[in-house]
């Protein structure tokens, strides 16, 4: 990043705080999650690197380290740490990360695209029937889970490939990526229902 700390002039790794002098910044809203983590936007993210950045940056902004510095500074730490945690949530989740990239490229939002193709919706209705009727742990449910997991991985691979390298802003491929992402939401929701049904209660 090219930005420098207004307080000490050191280069900034994150817009949340200065790693050199420790001063907290007040980043303008909204900030891109990639920028918060000092990363260039891109679909591939190294999870280990992300985690180590999370730890490093949390050491800069966590309210524990500003407990005695007055309300205003403490509020800033609370705010910046919340931004950091939110950005981590986006970047560590493949689907949310893809969504973020798509929005950054000016692609259609979830609601812009309208409804899904008829054939896909029929498929969703079939899943729902199994979800309603099959008992937890039954062969039908296990089969559906296997099928859905496969489909999720396929959709993820499609989205990943379409976003690597990043397509042109406003490009034609964006609508297709949106459709895959929307389909994935249906798949994830169905998988969520299976796992909730088998959850210990």
């Amino acid at each position: 990043m090219d930005a420098v700390c207004p307080s000490c002039g050191a280069g900034l790794e994150t817009p949340l705080a200065c790693g050199a002098c420790g001063v907290l910044m007040l980043p303008e809203d909204p900030v891109c999650p990639f920028a918060i983590f000092g990363l260039a936007p891109g679909f591939e993210v190294d999870r280990g690197d992300l985690k180590s950045r999370l730890r490093r940056f949390t050491r800069l902004v966590h309210p524990d380290f500003f407990a005695l510095e007055g309300e205003e500074t403490l509020a800033k730490a609370e705010h910046n740490n919340a931004l950091l945690n939110e950005a981590y949530g986006v970047l560590s989740d493949e689907a949310r990360r893809a969504n973020q990239l798509l929005e950054g490229l000016g692609g259609p939002s979830e609601k812009d695209l309208g409804s899904m193709p008829q054939a896909f919706l029929m498929e969703v209705m079939e899943w729902n029937e199994v979800l309603e009727d099959a008992a937890p742990g039954s062969p039908e449910l296990l089969e559906l889970e296997r099928e859905l997991t496969e489909q999720r991985d396929r959709l993820a691979a499609e989205v990943g490939a379409a976003l690597t390298p990043l397509p042109q802003p406003g490009g034609e491929s964006l609508a297709g990526i949106r459709q895959s992402l929307n389909a994935r939401r249906y798949v994830d929701r169905a998988l969520g229902r299976i796992s909730a049904g088998s959850a210990p209660s």
């Binding site: 050491r59 524990d64 407990a67």
Partner: protein
């Protein structure tokens, strides 16, 4: 100028921040000293303060050991386990729990639990504040008189917003600044991690007096990162006692009148007998469960074997292990992925609990640190972090429950998922449904259920001050922020005009700001009254000692004192005797001071004779 200021700053004594484990059964302060956390000690013993409050008929409160000592002879005025009622409403509580209480509870106008004792009403926050005051006072004694103003206080990880808020309010009422509310299992992991420099995945199993928590953490490079947490805020050692009490009641069924079970004396005696048997059963293969209350016609003795007790404990342990399963699932781990298991809380002394935890995780749990002290030690370590000495240690905690809003249809829409890292914020947009609508109501929930009615209500918020506009045009941005204490704050802004809308909060199970302020004022008055009362009692005790001494030496006085001094002494003795039964602090103080002065000549005479006696018969060099 600057030079002088700097000097003044350097002369300031270091601010003392203590860690407090505010427990269901006991509370304990600890501090950071010489590079490690240390439990505070009074007279060579850990300053473990029973979380018990006794309120006398005159309304004087005593806390701790002295209060616990009254629990048998005055059960209806002795409050224990108040933590179970923090941030709760009466209608949420289990009938069976209420049916075993020796003291009276009722509800406030808004349905919050309150304790009724000696004709007075106390909220759980006020009772907890009395306990915290005593903890701070004991800590101060342990530190040679240093005033305690700030603290880190621990709460069960599974405490919701209302329970955390209630804890914070209790501290405010006790005159303590809370620098951080830290989760008990997280604190425990900190205490262990510091000692052993562990790296890896740790499960903390914390079964206390009234609450159960499990947290899964990863520890790496000084970062204590909570991956998930689960628990049950009404599951603990008290429930083991309750199972034994039920056994006793079953034994008595048919032999005594049913009304006996309603008697505070019976409830208290049964509870204490059960607790005693439970503790013995952690050591011995069998224990006696016995109470004798001749005035109620109760006399029962029964042997409970460990096997039988294990059977009673089994369903409770099972409940705790279900929580462990859920926590592991949320952390996307299997029991075998856990490198270390740490046991916390007095109830983990029960052998069956240890065995089941070991079986579940497939490894022997750590018990090196005293399970009653480890949370306080961790709180002290956290206090040190907050003091800003270093950033080597970092706690990254999560919120135990999802936060949501009630939708038009009565469903719960999740805004923040459980096990999200805190602090965290979410912004939600609101608009109006009618032209010129100036206010919007919304209902904030906490919990995992799909229907709003099945989640726990945190509070109803009213957004006001929206500028008059056609329906749907205003854009009010509401920010929900869970802070590092896991407590929610809500702020709002009308975005099209930039006007900041104001928000009124009606907490569903907590005190409003006004209520806390009113209590704070009342507690300051009470503190003065309590202080005066204690002073009066101390002075009367002192007068007693002085009188005993003076009357014992009255013969000597008659013989050796001049007439005037002797008259003074007689007068002083007479008024001191009168003052012994006085309720007026000033009168007692004057009588004590007069007596003190009037006995001076006598003391001099006595001292003289003692010295003469000592010197006579000894060589000069020995003196």
């Amino acid at each position: 100028m600057g030079y002088i200021e700097l000097e003044v700053l350097e002369d300031q004594p270091k601010r003392v921040v203590i860690g407090i484990d505010l427990g269901t059964t006991n509370s304990l302060p600890a501090i950071w000293k010489d590079g490690r956390p240390e439990v505070l000690e009074v007279e060579g013993e850990p300053a473990l303060i029973p979380s018990v409050v006794h309120v006398s008929g005159e309304g004087t409160a005593v806390v701790g050991r002295a209060a616990r000592a009254r629990s048998m002879d005055d059960p209806a005025h002795t409050i224990h386990s108040i933590k179970r009622f923090m941030g709760r409403s009466l209608d949420e509580l289990d009938e069976a729990v209420l049916g075993r209480l020796p003291y009276q509870v009722s509800q406030t106008e808004r349905g919050l639990v309150q304790v009724e004792v000696a004709g007075k009403r106390f909220t759980p926050q006020e009772i907890s504040a009395l306990i915290l005051r005593e903890v701070a006072a004991q800590a101060s004694v342990a530190m040679g008189g240093a005033e305690v103003l700030s603290a880190v206080i621990t709460v069960p990880a599974y405490f919701d917003d209302a329970q955390r808020q209630a804890t914070r309010d209790a501290a405010r009422l006790a005159g303590l600044e809370v620098l951080r509310i830290v989760n008990e299992p997280t604190a425990a992991s900190l205490a262990y991690g510091l000692d052993q420099k562990e790296e890896g995945t740790v499960a903390v199993y914390d079964l206390g007096g009234g609450t159960f928590d499990v947290s899964i953490l990863s520890i790496e490079d000084g970062v204590f990162q909570v991956l998930s947490t689960n628990g049950d805020t009404s599951l603990g050692g008290d429930d083991l006692d309750a199972a034994l009490v039920d056994l006793l009641r079953g034994e008595l069924e048919g032999t005594v009148d049913g009304s006996v079970f309603e008697e505070p004396a019976f409830r208290q005696a049964a509870r204490l007998a059960a607790e005693k048997a439970k503790i013995a059963l952690s050591r011995d293969p069998a224990a006696d469960l016995a109470i004798s209350l001749p005035e109620l016609g109760v006399n029962v003795r029964r042997t409970v074997t460990r096997e039988e007790f294990d059977g009673l404990a089994a369903p409770l342990i099972e409940r705790s292990l279900r929580c462990c399963e859920r926590a592991l699932k949320d952390a996307e781990l299997e029991p075998g992925d856990v490198d270390e298991v740490v046991l916390v809380g007095g109830s983990t002394r029960v052998p069956r609990v240890r065995a089941e935890v070991e079986r579940f995780f497939g490894r022997a749990p750590h018990t090196e640190l005293d399970p009653d002290q480890v949370v306080a030690l961790g709180a002290a370590a956290q206090a040190e972090v907050l003091m800003g000495s270093s950033r080597d240690i970092l706690l990254m905690d999560v919120t135990p429950l999802s936060l949501g809003l009630e939708t038009m249809g009565g469903a719960a829409e999740k805004l923040i998922q459980r096990n999200s890292r805190i602090p965290c914020s979410v912004k939600e947009g609101f608009t109006t449904y009618a032209d010129n609508q100036s206010a919007i109501d919304f209902h904030v929930l906490q919990g995992e259920r799909e229907l709003a009615a099945d989640c726990r209500s945190l509070g109803r918020f009213k957004l006001t001050g929206i500028p008059p506009m056609p329906a749907g045009l205003p854009r009010v941005g509401v920010k929900f922020h869970l802070d590092a204490d896991g407590i929610l704050t809500v702020s709002a802004k009308e975005e099209s005009t930039g006007a900041s809308a104001s928000i009124e909060v009606k907490p569903s199970h907590g005190l409003t700001e006004d209520e806390v302020s009113a209590m704070l004022e009342a507690s300051l008055e009470n503190a003065q009254k309590d202080f005066e009362e204690r002073r009066r009692v101390d002075l009367i005790a002192e007068i007693g000692i002085m009188l005993r001494h003076a009357t014992a030496n009255l013969a000597v006085a008659e013989e050796r004192l001049d007439r005037e001094s002797m008259e003074d002494l007689r007068e002083a003795i007479a008024s001191a005797k009168e003052a012994q039964s006085s309720n007026e602090l000033d009168l007692v103080q004057t009588a004590r001071d007069t007596l003190d002065r009037a006995t001076m000549p006598l003391a001099t005479v006595l001292m003289d004779s003692v010295v003469k006696e000592a010197v006579s018969g000894k060589k000069l060099g020995d003196v």
